[in-house]
Each structure stands twice: as C-alpha cells, then as structure tokens.
Symmetry: C2
Subunit: 333 residues, 2 copies
C-alpha cells in the first residue's frame, strides 16, 4: 500500500503517473481540505476535486483543475446576475459541488461523500480528505488576511505573504482511515505540492504528523521546488514568509522530522549535501511532469528510490548516509 | 396599469404578446409559486422563472421553459453522480436557482429576489410572486399524493388526479404589492393558465380573491380550455377532479365570483350562452399562440374586449348582457 499526501495540481499529475505503474487500488490519497470554500452556497473542495478528477481521468489538462472539456455557461450567467465570479466552476464540475453539498446537508461526512463521488466516477484508488472537520487556510499578507482562494485565485498570489494560518486545525481530527493509511503503508509519498498551503494543513491536523514520525513506512517527498523557485504557484513566497530557504533544503526542512528521502530535479543534485546534512537522503531525476510518460517515470523513480535504504550512488541518484533514526529523534517537537 | 395572474407556459406566451402592445413598465405579473421546489438543494420557482425569462426574451421557444439555447452539462453529470434527474435544469438556468437560493439564504424575500433577478435580466415589467410564504400545491392521485412537479414532470400527469391541495396557503400572505396591483389596475387578466394548479394557488392565498372581487378593474380571463380539453397540460383532468366541466363554462365557473369576461377560442363561441348564464361576458377570437403575431393579437383582443362593457356583438365577439354587479353579489363566498 502506498499513501500519498496531496495538494492539488502537482499531486494530481503525480498520481496520474503513479496509477500507471501500481494497481490503483493500492493507492490511498490523503488530501488537503484547507482550501475548501463555500462558493455560490456550495461546498467546493478544490484539492479533493483535482485528485478525484485526475484519478478518474477527467481532469482538465489545459487548466489543471476542473473537468476536461467543461463549459462555463452557468458561470457566465452568474456573473450577469451579479454573483462573485472570480472563482470559476465549470458546468460539469458544478454537479460535483451540488451533489457534495446535498450529501453533506444530509448528514454524511466529507470522507463518505468523497468516497462516494470517487466510486461514481470509477476511481479505484482511495481518496481521503485529511479531516472531516473544517480547517481553513488563511494567508496573512501585506494587503490583509485572506482566505487561500482569495489569495491564490482572486489576488493571483500577488500580495506579499507574511504568514499562513490553519484556522480550526487544532480542534480537527484526522478523517477516518488517515492514520491507518499512514501506519499501514509501505511507502508514504509527499506529493510535489506546496509545503505550506497544501501539505501544511494536512500536517497541522493533530495526530497526522505523529503518525508520519511513527510509521514504519519509508517516507519520500517529491520537491515542488526546482532551483530557487516553485515549479508553479506561490510555494516560494510562502516558504520565504515562513523563514524557509526556497530550495530543496527548505522543502526537506519542513518535513525533516519524518522524511527519509527527497526526490529532486537533476539540476539540484549539487545541493544534495545540504539536505543530507539534515539526515535526509536525496534522489535526483527528472521531476518535471509534462507528458504522461514524465508522470509515470517520476512515479517509477520515487518507487525505485524508496527501496534504496542503503546508499547506492548511481548516475541517477545521490544517496544519503543511510536511514536516520527518525522516530527516535524527531527534529520538530 | 395591467395586472396579470400567471402560471407558467401559457402565461409566459401571453405576456410576450402583451408586452409588444403595451409599455412593459405598465404590466405587473402576479405569479404562482405553488410549484416551487427544492431541487439539488436549490430553490426553483418554475413559473416565476418562465415569466421572467419570457419577459427578458430568453425563454426557450422549443421547450417552453428554461433558457433558450441552454446546455445540460451539469444535469448529465448529476445523473451520473446518482442525483435524481427527472427534473431538468439547464446550465444557464442553474445560475438563476443558485443565485436565488443564495439571496434567500441571505434573508431577502422571494419578492425582492424576483425583482432583482428581473432587473438583472433587463425586464421592465414588474414580476411579483403571489406570496413570500411557502405554499405547496399537492396532487392527490390514484397513485398517492404527489408534489406538483412529481405529478406533472416525473409522472407526466398520467395518474388520475382526485384532488389538489394548496398546503400552507391558509397561513400565507400575499406578497407585498400584490393586493395593490389588483386594486390599482385598470385591467386584471387571468392568463391562459391551468385554473386548478396555476391560478388556483394564487386564489388560495387569503386576501387575493377578495381583492379581485373588490377591485374596480375589469377582470378578463383567457380560457386555457378549447372545446373539451386543455390547450396543453393536465388542466382538463384537474378540472374534472374538482367537479368542473371541462369547457369554457368550467373555466368561467372557477372565476365566477370576480370575472367580467372570458376570452375564448372562436370555435367555442357556440358555448357563450352557457357562460353568459353565469353573468360573465364572452369574447371569442383566435386564442392559439403559435407565432409572435398570434401572441400580440391575442393580447390586443383582450385589451379591446375588456373595454366593451356595453354589448356590441360583432363578427369577432359575443358580448354578454353587460357588466354584472360583481362586487355587490359575489358568486362565491
């Protein structure tokens, strides 16, 4: 079993590759819900949707979110009717939110609703929201405090961020199945997602970080940072706001108390020693995911690298000094 | 000022004609809300929507409901997600229901929401729901009691109806503006709508029937019955269930306590004496509304006939024995 901690875009691409090389039923995705938003009265769960659509094979390639080939007739009319329109929902996508909202109103949990949605769309992997409890990622910026979607979509992440808060996280419980998925996995993969606003909310749910420290599974992160910038999105600015170096070392630092290995772009191989200093091994390969082949190859690299517990430097990998005593001496309390 | 009591399809067509021959701002439509339904968690007001779309010039000609040229992407996906799908909402139409539901949740009245929606769509006439209070038209049939939409759409009005109930009507209040519109109108027109399930709920709201009896306005109904059947829909079966003759006489009987005149199809001119017996004048003309010209001509006929208080039999009209002392001696208590 493989457990993948997921945000949206990058994680969706990575899972598309992973399900090409391992049986989908062996994959459990634990997905950020800190970006969830009530929009037009509907419960929208952007990362859960991206992951679900990706695994169902209907994620828009062009946009990276929403349904492939979707239309926006309702959205255009909403704008005419004076509704806020900076957040777009396609017509087919709308059905997901309408049905989710109805199911939630009927008393079902987000976990149950997410599973049902995935089943209806033919997804064989398991998709778990990080929590059934509300956690709201808020970004304190130079222009004031914003919800994640306000910061990311409405303001196009232009305001300089100062701090990210996970409102409600301290009272949230991991969704049913999350801790077991982490404990029982052979491999936990932290997808190439924003460490602060995609993976950060997951780690902020009490119990999840502890489970990651305690699991016997190998834990591998795929770096969303290449060189000194994020592959996409505002991960760089947000890491900087949290006092982290924008590099593979910064990524490794966020996860240092539970991570075994980080998979980085080949061009970052030169930085490996600065990550290995943290007791985290480094595997370098091509991490850019443009084609379906890229996605599958990255997933294959992660699987292969995760089995290299003993340092075996090759032309493709920079191995560390072996497994570190992770659970015994966590770097973060 | 002209006040029109409206259901959906027939009333929508009639209003399209009326607004071609009188300034739209002089028209107030009082619309049935007994068919309103919560669908996919959204407040759908089918008759209000048909009237609004008709007056905005965007009503689907082909379907007679919903938005012209609308797509059904969301609907198709809802079906896939296991949602009930026997009631169709187009993608553009959905925006109306999403926005209405949001506005209602925000504490606005249906009257206010209806006005705002009409304004946003460029409608110059006034559209009033009959009431801001919930009134639910239910049809008791041989197959059990059904909501109106279940009876009309889901069951395609196949079960034999026994009785129609207007649940909540006795506690409902006319929407703000309705009684004034009736009192201040020069002419009140009962649109060619189903007397039982479209006009019936309006008349069931306490105060409205009394206002119709008391208004100095001339009141003219356009018969939705031609010969022994409804032009469309189940008006015939429903009238029969309520012990009414399915004819222009039956229509006149429903409104006998406030009606001055009924406008009927030419072929029904022969039945005029049986209506005039009720003290209601009869004007016959072409009432079928196929083309835009038909709609405008019918509206013109209604306006012309409404002014014929003194009997002036012509080749186009069968006039009654003059105005009857309506308010003084109502036929129905």
């Amino acid at each position: 079993m493989i457990c993948v901690l997921c945000g949206g875009t990058g994680a969706a691409k990575f899972l598309q590759g992973l399900q090409r090389i391992v049986p989908p039923a062996e994959i459990t995705a634990v997905v950020n819900t800190g970006d969830d938003v009530m929009w037009w009265g509907l419960h929208v769960s952007p990362d859960v949707d991206s992951i679900t659509y990706a695994l169902a094979g209907i994620l828009s390639r062009e946009r990276g979110w929403g349904v492939e080939g979707d239309t926006f007739e309702c959205h255009a009319r909403m704008r005419e009717l004076g509704a806020p329109a900076w957040f777009s929902l396609g017509d087919r996508d709308l059905a997901t939110h309408l049905q989710r909202t109805q199911w939630l109103k009927g008393g079902r949990s987000l976990t149950n609703v997410t599973a049902e949605m995935a089943r209806r769309l033919g997804v064989q992997s398991r998709i778990l929201p990080m929590s059934d409890d509300p956690v709201e990622t808020r970004v304190v910026t130079e222009s004031g405090e914003l919800s994640f979607q306000e910061y990311f979509v409405r303001e196009r992440h232009q305001p300089v961020p100062w701090e990210v808060r996970y409102i409600g996280a301290e009272k949230a419980h991991p969704a049913r199945g999350v801790l077991d998925a982490i404990h029982q996995a052979q491999l936990v993969i932290v997808a190439p997602s924003n460490p602060i606003t995609s993976i950060g909310p997951i780690l902020a749910v009490p119990g999840i970080r502890g489970a990651l420290r305690a699991t016997p599974a190998t834990i591998v992160a795929v770096s969303p940072i290449v060189g000194e910038a994020a592959v996409s999105g505002p991960a760089g600015e947000l890491m900087r706001a949290h006092g982290l170096e924008v590099s593979i070392r910064g990524v490794a630092q966020v996860y240092a108390d539970f991570l075994d290995m980080v998979v980085v772009e080949e061009s970052d191989r030169k930085l490996a020693p600065r990550v290995e200093d943290l007791g985290i091994r480094v595997h370098s390969c091509r991490t850019m995911m443009q084609s379906d082949e890229d996605k599958a190859e990255l997933a294959r690299q992660v699987l292969v690298a995760s089995k290299m517990r003993t340092p075996t430097p090759t032309s493709q990998s920079q191995a560390s000094r072996g497994p570190r005593p992770r659970a015994a001496s966590p770097r973060r309390p």
